[in-house]
Symmetry: none
DNA sequence: CATGAATGAGTCTTCATTCAT
DNA sequence: AATGAATGAAGACTCATTCAT
């Protein structure tokens, strides 16, 4: 009996749709990116889309979860490292690399507009929470190691590191001359200044 | 011949629509905020909206221009001051006050997603440019006065101050516990650290 | 006690609106001609329109009735003439002159599209009937005088004269090179051929 | 991979919409015929309409082009005939048959009012030009064969034959007692009189 | 499973008409 | 009487989602 489903091909297509969604959302915004256009971009029929995602919002959710998982994976890989301040710096660097993908800033802006949907707001919050939780751990350790200022609580410092990364993303989307590569050193310097004891 | 227009009432209503637009855009996003809902919120009929703004996009533009004008007015009022670093700090404080209006962060996110419309993208760029141009002048003066570091060019420093303010706005929208009032001191401290020689 | 109404001015304005309506309907079609535009064209406020005509359709009706009255007046002025065939020819010539006004063909086309409104269909029928009734009398007399063929009934011949005039109007609207002045002689010749015994 | 399109059914439906459009435009005028009503008449959903025609104007255009193509086909089928005057008469008869469809006069009137749309004006002009061009050829041949008068140029005679046909259509729409069948003989006689040397 | 045609709810926008001044 | 701001009903068109093939 032949397998009618090829799980590998299925996953491949799923990723193709996620990729197309990232691109289209970034270029056109959430509402501007029609399921038909995303489907065409992914090389599938307009009805096939709904074999992979029950709704358009579900695709957005999947993209967000994908990002959350990557965050978790990255931090999981740092387990056991001994220089906490360096882990924080590495995370900043890692994020700066991620947003080298020119679609990311556009995507983030696109998503910002759909927070009326509770499911999406929840996913965004979960994504943020994932970053904050992991990062906070290392910041606290860095404080305990005397590498980072202690006049401000670890949760607050964490928010401020994320704040700088958020702003970094925003500038990339706003100023044409502001590039991830060109401003990377300044980014690290700014975070250092923010955290310096 | 009786005058049928009461210019005062007209301006009042125009402002009411702008206010309703700000609220609705912030809560529902640009696409989510229907003209019908904005009209209801402003207490006018659905057709009346179009007596004040020819299109929905024009309302958004008007809100943006309103903000740009306020920026220009604020900087115009600083002319002649002698402590440039203090002007920069005052601007940061002023911005922090503005975003005390809880609608502002939501609005900014909402708008970020509509950059497909060239007219809106242009208005956003103009708004950003207005801030950057004025702020840069004072930052340069602060550099010349030795109040601010000179290892980074004034335009870049300007971008980074705006980056912090952008990120500040973003955090307000993302983290429920992150409030403008509570983080105001930290904001000023961060900008000080960013600019310190 | 001052007269608040100046009947002369009132009639003047009424005619101005009728004229503006003729122009706008001709240029833009019935639906395309908004009451606002007609009012502006007539030099009055958009609300004033409705002091003179209760609805937009009523304006169209008034224009049609104006034409009907002119037709009746013209025929009334021919009473007592002794050469019936010449009266018919004069009517044709008179009509050709009327449609020299370049708005007339456009207006007729515009009106053709609104026959769904029963009131307008009735007015158009009345206008046509007015022409047919008067013209038929003279055609019958011309038959009795042996000036016009008798193998076809007077009512039918009347319809065919009107048919040629209708077609004349249509060509003016369709062919740019077909002008009232240039085709006038041909028009009379064609009617002569149509009626020749 | 299953074919999801049945081209036959697609064409069938397209024709159903064209037919419904013809009926609705004729009865209600261009503006009066809403896409919703046309869709209901064609037995399809209101959104389906736009799978077949991108705009309402495009439907009108399609109907007009359909007529133009029929005209061209008819004349193409006459190639090689030896009695040019008879071809002209046949064309007149053919047209009279076409307008036996009681929707045609209404449709023509309806369309006359939409000449503000340049695309539609162009299609109407193209349709007229198609008729004129083909008809002119045969009229010129008839002149050369001595069957038709030569005191008037072929283009002008062509316009006048079309004028009579236009007027015929108009009368059908205006006078209830004027029928295509009843006036057919008179139509041919009138054209004969118009063209007689 | 894949497809794309079909659907209709929902959007922005227009405009005849009303009415307070 | 004149004005033009206000109104809301209605229309063209879009698009997420369904379903027969």
């Amino acid at each position: 009996m032949a397998r009618t489903v090829d799980p590998e091909k299925h996953e491949q297509r799923r990723l193709a749709i996620i990729d197309a969604g990232l691109t289209c959302f970034a270029e056109l915004g959430y509402e501007g990116a029609t399921t038909a256009r995303i489907s065409r971009h992914a090389g599938i029929g307009s009805g096939t889309f709904f074999h992979y995602f029950p709704t358009k919002a579900a695709l957005l959710l999947a993209i967000l979860e994908y990002g959350t998982r990557e965050t978790n994976d990255w931090f999981a890989a740092q387990t056991g490292r001994s220089d906490p301040a360096q882990v924080v710096r590495d995370w900043v660097r890692h994020t700066a690399d991620d947003v080298g993908d020119p679609r990311v800033p556009g995507f983030v802006r696109a998503v910002g507009a759909v927070m009326s949907e509770p499911a999406i707001a929840a996913a965004l919050a979960a994504d943020d929470e994932a970053q904050r939780r992991s990062l906070r751990i290392w910041i606290r350790r860095a404080q305990q190691a005397g590498q980072v200022r202690t006049d401000v609580s670890a949760p607050t410092l964490t928010s401020w590191v994320l704040l700088v990364l958020d702003g970094f993303l925003g500038r990339l989307a706003t100023e044409a001359t502001f590039t991830a590569a060109g401003q990377r050193r300044m980014l690290l310097d700014t975070v250092d200044r923010l955290l310096a004891p």
